[in-house]
Assembly symmetry: C2
Homo-oligomer: 140 residues x 2
DNA sequence: GATCAATGCAACAGTGAATGTTACGTATAG
DNA sequence: CTATACGTAACATTCACTGTTGCATTGATC
């Protein structure tokens, strides 16, 4: 449970919420189901809240809920909200002194940006509601 | 100099070799130019040798050289040789018990594989010889 | 043959980012 | 007022990657 666990956690949680949008879930419940810690859950879901995908309520009977109908939350929304780049952005902003290095970085960065955009476009084609329907029981 | 330094180092080195294919360079020279350690250079270039992109010779007057003409070594060759996945592969092979999680992973993995293939296709369109020509001196 | 210079490789140290954990403040229902 | 839950800061832990040292091996040169 090391790499990319944030995206997994976020999608997993939203997937369950899509199945029962009215229900409010606490970070302890979510952490328990996902096998992690409530603080970690709040960290990750906090980004989704800032992006307007979730709402949270404090206090007794508080918890987390979808801010929109599940068919209006795409996988791309989640990906972007987490501000991750599965594709290394490497905008270290350090223009190297070596011209060969500079030329290479430019080439590679252009390709990476195109690919990242392509990734987001593809993720935008699926909502967390779609995922539920696809989730038929496997043969194992 | 933390993330993705392997790909940068490999491309940078091959770029210079493309400029003077006949010359033999030692890992000490390369490390000095790249600001790293000879052992690190040998680690990275060793993978390129296994992939048939470079040859190395031991002993006095030994060092590294291209195994093919520079216009026959594409950026994709280098990327594949390093066995990296800029895009997280997350084939942890752990099929989760939760059906929502399973369905999500399947969706995401399909998208990531498509995007990775797209990345390689784009990198295949440029060779290390091309990069030299693009490397005109910038205005700074 | 002796020597020097280079790769090959193993083992360990150092670094940094991400996750896990504890603690405490704040808000809210009952 | 109390219990519950989020919000956040601070610290601990883990893990991959890079850096480093050491040594065996190989090959050209004296």
């Amino acid at each position: 449970m090391k790499r990319n666990s944030r995206l997994s956690l976020a999608l997993h949680t939203l997937g369950h919420m899509a199945a029962d949008p009215g229900r409010t879930q606490t970070s302890a419940d979510i952490a328990d189901h996902a096998g992690t810690n409530p603080v970690v859950v709040r960290r990750v879901l906090g980004k989704l809240r800032k992006a307007g995908l979730l709402t949270s309520e404090k206090g007794h009977a508080g918890g987390w809920r979808l801010a929109r109908p599940p068919d209006r939350i795409s996988l791309a929304d989640v990906y972007v909200a987490l501000e991750e780049s599965l594709i290394a952005t490497e905008d270290d902003a350090e223009a190297p002194a070596c011209s060969v290095e500079r030329a290479l970085q430019k080439k590679v960065v252009v390709v990476l940006e195109e690919v990242e955009r392509s990734l987001i476009d593809r993720l935008a084609g699926t909502t967390i509601a779609d995922v539920r329907e696809t989730g038929a029981a496997p043969q194992t």
